[in-house]
Subunit: 277 residues, 4 copies
């Protein structure tokens, strides 16, 4: 299927990202209709066709081009309830979600506009005391808000308690997030084809605490059980919420996955090898 | 469905295991037909109804009672191409596959004979240079045969190379095996409902080496790439084979799972908590 | 040497700690001169002999009795430039620095007052941009002040750069602190007789990051190198400071060690075994 | 002090090592007296001045040039009761004990012959049931002789029992060995100026098992406590002994350290950075 409408989102605090957006615009403006996120449009002095990313699907946009790093991709996916496929142009350092190096951007976009396939990646839906927050593409992190003050969590998977955990925090990640923060906390690498969620304690007090791999459709409940402690709940490193005693976080699989445009590069294993070794 | 034929297998180097078998025989002999593995029968002086465990299914046996520890369960399952459901009576120390403590044996067996359900657990089928070996319920371990001599493996998942690994060895485990040897080697705990295999390096030279979680239906290939080194291939801690340079081990999901009779006790999480903390 | 003057410090937010102080006072008031930290005195309605713990050495106090948990001990030691020997009465849960259980308090204090020995434990002196902060008995922690935002540190030991580390934070601990926060972060157990400091990354981005054991008399420099990030510098879990870009923390061995009154219980290994296993 | 007598040891199963020895011989034969280990001499067709390395000190040799990898250095040091300083020419891949790359060999040796300094590195002396074995420069490893069969050890430091450990094995390493096998087993990096020994379990059954850092002058006792198991005791990856039930291994600091000729390159931290990152 030929592409007729695309959206562009980008970092706007980095001149090279804005330059790249300009270049893409100049190159493809005559071939497809291009929409911009309002902030990106504003930084480029473009006023037509500016539209919040969450409204792009309704406007008939078929794919999003994200110019920046993993953070740009994550932030924009989190705005879409049913995410459009994203193609990431990498202007950062290391990125698992941005496949295209800047020098290949024009050529790769040209290819994609002729027709593209995409892969779906599960997301997590997150509730704080019953109130739904943003879906997570990588992970949610619960972490002490007072550095070096240990927290106590009660964690249950599908109503089975797995552990009363004392730790600085806890990560609940998708396979996509297994190569991001969950990995720093000591989690395994999980092939995105595996239908699972990953629970990893951060600096656990109990030496025997281990990462857990649980079914992707599990309901994971995390409750803070210690009085007078505060924690932050952080979604994809982008959105932050405060948690206090007895607050309950519930995590399940989101209805709609993230979608990533397939690029010339990369299976999962090749990418892990090139990024991590 | 009421049970009419059962098989009993046991350790025969431990008097209390043989005593337990005798007790089960005396209690249930008048109610169901009981078959014995030849060695167990021989140690009890029973000559009737002795049958290799691999022939019990054809003889109409509906479930196996295993008296001993995890090793007894693993060894007997590995003999059956299409394993009968197993109920484990625990006469060892710590066991994940033996749910029934000796004091509950008679009562629990009586309950089970009125009708039972079972859970299925994936097994791995293992090929050494194309020759099929025993299926693994817990794991296969490739490990240096000369202590402290490092090996080099080339590991591929579904034809994608994941890593050239220098290590003392490597574990490929099922979720069932995630709480056994894979855990000592540093692997995560994997809920048996997750359809996945676990790859864990043992004492890897490269500090960044991590456990991998891959789809349960993957084909995992491990090749030894260093000349003049020898390794052992060990299945479920029970069966050992030698490996030399260029030997290729292929691991896939076995057609037939292990089956465990559900007992009054415990879900997976309760069991992990009670065994490991 | 018989003891004639003691100091008592305690938690004052816990009635059982105050009750214990009262009991000690009633029991020993006629035998030795007893000084109180002002807050403890105030909560007990005692106005005589109240003295900040940092002035007790000059007043001739020979040892401090600390009633509470490890935090009470750490907080009071940190006030003393040349710490008096401390005997910890344990009213908390788990404590490495509080040897005496409440039921043994009166008897053990009576023994100690007849004469006592003590062990010395190295402390760390800490400078933030050249300004001296409190000495650390357990550890200093540098940790991101915005949860889940990774920091970058440049770490040098005696002018040799050891690593540019990307991590949530970093711990620099004494052997005494090796069984406290450094352990949760993945550090080894270090016998307090070893003259060394321990550097442990917290949730490091680079999988190969390892704990380092460096000479006890090393000068350890940690510099935050990423702009627009904030970190907290926390000493013994008690004192907190903000850090911004280019702030430099220098850690060396303090001139004066912590001193712990030897009690009937325990060598180091027995204590680790009883606390951690 | 100008050097007048040197010894050369080398691998003799690698032509490039023998070529390098020949080159060194041709270059320096007229300037200093050169001794060869018998095997090296034999492979080069040299019959004069061949002398077992353990007799070189008495013959007035002032330093040893080792051509090969870490293994060559370790094997030759282990032959000397009071080791001569060693300069390692690196013909292997990665080496912590061989500082000089082949292309710098002639120049560096010329420099060293004008006078040199060296650093001392502690070694471990090892007793098996009271019988002294070779001293270890890197480490001793106790490891199961039957792959994947777990062992049980009783470990004591200066008569204090630290742990009854169930594991595949155990490493006792010097700081020099902290970047070798002990690191693969999960140990920390230890600055060689720290006076300590490192105890690291290999694939421990108990998840909470940790590396221990103990005083360098400790007496470390390791006893195998499980019947019918066999283990190997391996010194520096070079010398192997069998161990059975109740065998007792005692490790203390050796009287004489290893000595390494200081080369133009590198402090410890630079070397770790260049080798491991």
């Amino acid at each position: 299927m030929k592409v007729s409408k695309i959206g562009i989102v980008s970092r706007f605090d980095q001149q090279d990202a804005l330059d790249m957006v300009r270049k893409i615009y100049d190159e493809f403006n005559s071939k497809v209709e291009i929409f911009f996120s309002p902030k990106t449009g504003q930084h480029l002095g473009i006023t037509d066709n500016c539209l919040p990313v969450e409204q792009m699907r309704n406007a008939g946009v078929q794919l999003i081009i994200s110019v920046g790093g993993d953070g740009t991709v994550l932030r924009n996916i989190s705005k879409m309830e049913d995410p459009l496929p994203v193609l990431g142009i990498n202007l950062g350092t290391l990125g698992f979600l941005v496949d295209v190096p800047p020098e290949d951007a024009i050529k790769d976009i040209a290819d994609v506009l002729k027709g593209f396939s995409y892969t779906e990646r599960s997301r997590l839906s997150v509730y704080l005391n019953g109130k739904r927050l943003q879906d997570a593409t990588n992970e949610i992190v619960l972490i002490t808000a007072r550095p070096a003050k240990i927290l106590t969590f009660r964690i249950a998977v599908d109503e089975s308690e797995i552990e009363d955990m004392r730790a600085d925090g806890i990560v609940v990640a998708t396979p996509t997030g297994s190569t991001a923060y969950a990995m720093s906390a000591g989690g395994p690498i999980v092939d995105p084809r595996v239908d699972a969620s990953i629970i990893v304690p951060i600096a656990p007090f109990k030496l025997s605490a281990r990462p857990w791999i649980v079914p992707g459709n599990s309901s994971i409940k995390v409750e803070m059980t210690i009085p007078e402690k505060e924690a932050a709940l952080v979604i994809d490193g982008q959105h932050s919420y405060n948690m206090v005693e007895n607050d309950l976080v519930t995590v399940t699989r989101a209805e709609n996955p993230a979608r990533f445009v397939s690029s010339s590069i990369n299976g999962f294993y090749e990418k892990v090898q090139s990024k991590l070794s």
